[in-house]
């Protein structure tokens, strides 16, 4: 009674917190993790756990060296580690995965100031660096255990003819990275995130929709294109990362469309079979500019004299 706490209004807060949001993302990734274990066996779980643990270790180490409070309990490092693992082939040597999380957490995230300050998606950059450094290990695909003749083979996008049915692609009966093969599990996670209001549908719909339309116009099989490669993983979990994508809904749509176009351009005309990671990275870099042109116009605001063009409406 003697001492009353005085603080500025409002005096109540919602239950939402950064760690709770990250927890929702981890829960949403669970179906895909279960499917990766089913499809690729125990090694998938080993690789995923290693990525999560090493990501958290790197973050903790950075906080120690930088003399900052430990931020691992916001769970964002866990999400990054898990997403990076989902972007790795099941046969990848373990030390490479640790290098990947080093790039993601230390170079992309912590050096820029930690959570919220990085301009690019850490997991995406981790994957790209591994892809360019260890190209053969990163493209050493094995067939899932569920397929009887499990041997090294090409991914759906790299193979010339359509070797896999839509159903195979949907449930993950095809070679690929840990978390990206099973579209069904990823979509289930995405629906969970939308229901929990963690993400809004704008980016994934714009991204997948653009790839669908572009593929159809370009004479490719649109359904095959949206179900294969890391498109679902990218559209649902990576292109919806808050930090590296535009804040406004309008900006999110632009971001999704941009990602879709770049993905298709890389897939159809460049030498890489897969373009999702590059497209998201390029759009990450464009995000501040998208933010600038999609500023919200306050209600009842008098029109500013100069910036009238850049305002919404």
């Amino acid at each position: 009674m003697e001492k009353l706490t005085v603080s500025p209004s409002p005096h109540i807060r919602s239950g939402a917190s950064t760690s709770r949001i990250m927890l929702h993302v981890l829960i949403a990734l669970m179906p895909a993790m279960v499917m990766s274990a089913v499809l690729f066996g125990g090694r998938a779980l080993v690789l995923t756990s290693l990525c999560i643990l090493s990501a958290m270790a790197w973050e903790r180490l950075c906080c120690l060296i930088m003399k900052r409070p430990d931020t691992t309990d916001d769970l964002s490092a866990m999400v990054t580690g898990m997403l990076l693992a989902f972007n790795l082939p099941p046969t990848l040597p373990l030390y490479m995965a640790v290098i990947g999380t080093f790039v993601a957490i230390v170079i992309v995230k912590m050096i820029f100031g930690g959570l919220g300050q990085n301009f690019a998606n850490p997991a995406i950059v981790g994957r790209i660096v591994l892809m360019l450094s260890f190209t053969s290990a990163m493209t050493n695909w094995t067939m899932p255990k569920t397929v009887t003749d499990a041997v090294t083979s090409a991914t759906p996008l790299a193979s010339d003819d359509k070797a896999y049915s839509y159903w195979d692609l949907f449930i993950g009966n095809c070679p690929g990275c840990l978390g990206e093969v099973c579209a069904a599990a990823l979509i289930a996670g995405g629906i969970y995130l939308v229901i929990m209001k963690v993400i809004c549908v704008h980016t994934p719909i714009a991204f997948v929709g653009t790839v669908f339309v572009y593929s159809w116009l370009a004479g490719e099989d649109p359904v095959y294109q949206i179900l294969s490669g890391g498109l679902m993983l990218g559209a649902i979990f990576m292109a919806t990362d808050y930090v590296t994508t535009p804040v406004c809904k309008k900006g999110k749509v632009i971001f999704g469309i941009g990602c879709g176009i770049i993905t298709c351009v890389i897939r159809f005309y460049a030498s890489y079979p897969e373009g999702v990671s590059f497209s998201i990275l390029i759009m990450n870099i464009a995000t501040p500019y998208i933010d600038m042109i999609t500023l919200r116009k306050p209600i009842g605001a008098e029109k500013p004299k100069k910036e009238a063009k850049t305002d919404e409406k």
């Binding site: 005085v6 209004s9 409002p10 005096h11 109540i12 919602s14 100031g113 959570l115 804040v247």
Partner: protein, 429 residues
């Protein structure tokens, strides 16, 4: 289409509790500034006997509201007090004699036209009872060459959690509200009257709709339960679709908005002539054992009011004058109740470790989705931290009404609304 906002838990646990009069305190301390505008000069001196309804403070400024004694008794001194609002102001301390004798000459005012109506309203000491405390006579005394006002909105949204004072006013003082409306309509020449009530008060909506049906030109509008439904600009837009522009007042759009309790008081005053000497308050919060609605003589200390509601003084750590979203924290429970205090909430000590810590902004955009006036609090926060006046001006931080929705929804627990207020102060320097 309605403006954006947030969904809150209402916690209106006192909605069904009839107002009780607070037992007369043995001493009151009446501040000379209880509304927006100039503080009053003290009209009494130490040792004077005062009666209920006696004017004890007045000012010759137009933007000012006189102050009346809420009790009968003896003036024990004039003190200077730091009020909840952060201002130092003179207070008249009165020791009550328990008789509550009313001063002679309290009779219904004679009103013939708008000017005499506004003068009478000023004399009554009336100001906005919702919380802002804007002098009502100034609102009514708009320049009719400049503004053509055709709509009166009675603000009965009461969107703040816990508070139920307006709700009780509607149930207990229904006839006075309609009398008040009739006087305002007649003297200001207003055609359309809307009473905006949030849907969480179905009994009030039903009662007022029935009464309104008996009279022409009054429409009860049930409003979505969405905070800040009762903010002036939000209410004007959601009821009439008119947008009150930056730096403008509702009268620019032909609208006058007054709080339902203010309206009820005007009805009472026009009938009896008794000036504003007491008000209804909600006392609630988890440290209060007996949450209730009380009629409090102005100048009573918050402590007395909390004591009446059996507040656990040892277990509490926070007391709020007003609602939890926009109310102001009390730093001293001995501070007096003013005309603008719609409630007092007391909260127990919280377990600090359970509360999530502040993190960096994760750019989730929830604040942007919540802001009713379409600001981008996350952008404003960064601009303020960089002392970037240009961006603050361009992004219209001045439009922020401090409803607190952005801070409420922020998962990173950042103090966005507070930063907006600091930014507004920065732009004023």
């Amino acid at each position: 289409m309605s403006l954006k906002g947030i969904i809150l838990r209402h916690n209106k646990n006192t909605a069904q509790m009839p107002s009780e009069p607070l037992p007369l305190p043995n001493k009151v301390s009446i501040p000379m500034q209880q509304s927006i505008g100039a503080p009053c000069d003290v009209l009494v001196k130490k040792g004077d006997k005062v009666l209920v309804g006696q004017k004890i403070g007045d000012s010759d400024k137009y933007m000012s509201v006189p102050v009346h004694s809420s009790v009968s008794g003896t003036v024990t001194g004039i003190s200077e007090l730091l009020l909840v609002s952060g201002k130092v102001c003179k207070c008249v301390d009165i020791e009550t004699d328990g008789e509550q004798k009313v001063i002679d000459g309290i009779k219904p005012p004679v009103v013939t036209d708008r000017d005499s109506f506004c003068r009478a309203i000023k004399e009554s000491g009336c100001c906005g009872l919702g919380g802002a405390g804007f002098p009502t006579h100034v609102k009514f005394g708009f320049d009719d060459k400049k503004f053509s006002v055709d709509t009166l909105i009675i603000n009965a949204a009461e969107c703040e959690p816990y508070l139920t004072g307006d709700h009780r006013e509607m149930l207990e003082n229904t006839d006075s509200i309609f009398e008040g409306i009739a006087h305002i309509k007649k003297n200001l020449g207003i055609e359309n009257v809307y009473i905006g009530i949030e849907k969480n008060k179905p009994d009030a909506i039903k009662l007022l709709s029935e009464k309104a049906a008996q009279q022409g030109g009054i429409k009860v509008v049930p409003l979505k339960e969405k905070y800040p439904q009762g903010a002036e600009k939000v209410l004007v837009y959601n009821i009439t679709g008119r947008i009150v522009k930056e730096g403008k007042i509702p009268a620019d759009e032909g609208v006058i908005v007054i709080n339902v309790s203010t309206c009820g008081f005007i009805g009472d005053y026009m009938r009896t002539g008794m000036p504003l000497v007491s008000r209804r308050m909600t006392v609630s919060g988890d440290a209060v054992k007996k949450p209730c609605n009380v009629i409090v003589p102005l100048g009573t200390s918050f402590k007395k009011v909390l004591k009446f509601a059996e507040c656990d003084f040892d277990g509490m750590e926070k007391a709020i004058a007003g609602g939890p979203m926009m109310g102001i924290d009390l730093f001293d429970l001995h501070d007096p109740v003013c005309k603008t205090h719609s409630g007092v909430l007391a909260f127990k000590k919280k377990n600090k470790e359970k509360e999530p810590l502040q993190t960096n902004c994760i750019r989730c955009g929830r604040c942007i989705e919540a802001c009713p006036v379409g600001l981008m609090p996350t952008v404003l926060e960064k601009a303020f931290d960089n002392k970037d006046r240009e961006t603050l001006k361009k992004m219209k931080v001045s439009l922020c009404m401090n409803c607190g929705s952005c801070t409420y929804v922020c998962p990173a627990k950042r103090n966005l609304a507070e930063k907006n207020q600091l930014a507004k102060a920065l732009l004023r320097t």
